[in-house]
Amino acid sequence: MTAPAQPIASEPLLPRVAQGDARAVSQCLDRYGGLAWSIAKRLLGPGQDAEDAVQDAFIDLWKYADRFEASKAGEATFVAMIVRRRSVDRLRRRTSGVQAMKSAGPFEPDTLPGVTVSDRLEAAEEADAALRALDDLPPPRGELVKLAVCDGLTHGQLAERFNLPLGTVKSHVRRGLQAVRDALGANLETNAAGVNS
């Protein structure tokens, strides 16, 4: 058992990775390797699939490092988004049993969200804001979002577990994520005002 992962609060590395800085590549693996492994393991369980997902994700990261913009996204969340996508991709294949199933598609960094994130504010604040937003959700919405996002449960599984109609589950998850997204934006605006004042 090792200590909990440290909150990630440092200067972004991806711009240096995009310049081919070998030291930044190694630092990137040092900084985000544990996070990536933790996410993949949550969704896929420890094993080959999780390892493959992490490898896929870092290749994506090297490919698209130059598209990362600290003004648009927090670096750790950017990494988490890529790892999650690659993990979900593998989870889909595993669950469907169809190896040749259409993938989740290439990572499209151009579809980054419209939220504005300052690299000065990224660190753990973004993660805290997301958790606070989840805690503020009316039950069972927060739990549904966590189970869907962090444990990879399908809406069908959630509907059965919570004895809710499928449409209601979908609505809860969607609205929960919207609330998190809005909270991230509000958190950033507040912090930006503090920084600028």
């Binding site: 058992m1 290749i59 958790l131 069908g156 969607r174 994520l177």
Partner: protein
């Protein structure tokens, strides 16, 4: 309504096309993951990631390099490419592979008229410059006809090759494709009476946005993925 046997659905199904929700989901899972008390990357996996990274960043003419060229402008990109090329020289000379031909001195291209091998309507032109060690004196010109998907190059100072020992290979970087450059074909250098080597080329795959032309020296017949180094490069500009 029972939904237990439905195909897998993830939140991505709900958030497709709404990147903000995708990002929110990433923030949530990141927050949860950072609470993990057992998140250390397995040593064996770290080894694989290091190996992946090394393989990725030592590929020649990767798109990232070219994107840097575009951002930095030609001069900055030239220097960056040159540094990559120097890095790539190491494995080349440390392994049992083809020795590079030695560039001789050459005449200037100035005042040597183009003698096109095929009619071209160039949509872009550019100047080749040697970037590998020892190839600094190599110069060349490029004409690229995007509409007809063919072009011509001419070089001075690019040494003649023995086709049975090795051939030059042209690579075209097109960021609208994936990260692997388009194979522009292999060619041999046989200078004419003016000391100029003229080479026509027609890539086998369509090129939509050529941002860099680069030449390597490979085994006879060429390779699918080159280990480099880049000998000469040209960044075309619309004509």
């Amino acid at each position: 309504m029972s939904a237990t046997h439905e195909p897998f659905e993830s939140v991505e199904d709900l958030t497709r096309g709404e990147a903000g929700l995708d990002y929110a989901a990433a923030a949530v899972i990141r927050a949860e993951a950072e609470r993990d008390t057992d998140s250390e990357l397995p040593i064996a996996l770290r080894g694989k990631l290091d190996a992946d990274a090394e393989a990725f960043f030592t590929r020649p003419v990767i798109a990232g390099e070219i994107r840097r060229q575009r951002r930095m402008g030609f001069v900055g990109g030239f220097l960056a490419a040159a540094s990559i090329a120097l890095v790539l020289m190491v494995p080349l000379f440390s392994s049992n592979v083809r020795p590079l031909p030695s560039p001789p001195g050459g005449p200037s291209l100035t005042d040597v008229p183009w003698r096109e091998m095929k009619p071209l309507r160039p949509t872009a032109t550019g100047d080749f410059a040697g970037i590998a060690a020892g190839y600094e004196g190599v110069a060349g010109e490029l004409r690229w006809d995007e509409d007809n998907q063919r072009g011509e190059m001419r070089f001075v100072g690019l040494p003649p090759n023995d086709p049975e020992a090795g051939q030059y290979q042209l690579w075209i970087v097109d960021p609208t494709r994936d990260d692997v450059p388009v194979d522009g074909g292999v060619f041999d250098v046989t200078p004419n009476a003016d000391g100029v080597a003229v080479v026509a080329f027609e890539p086998r795959l369509p090129v939509e946005e050529a941002v860099l032309f680069a030449v390597t020296y490979e085994q006879p017949g060429g390779v699918v993925v080159s280990d480099g180094p880049l000998l000469v490069t040209a960044a075309p500009e619309a004509s």
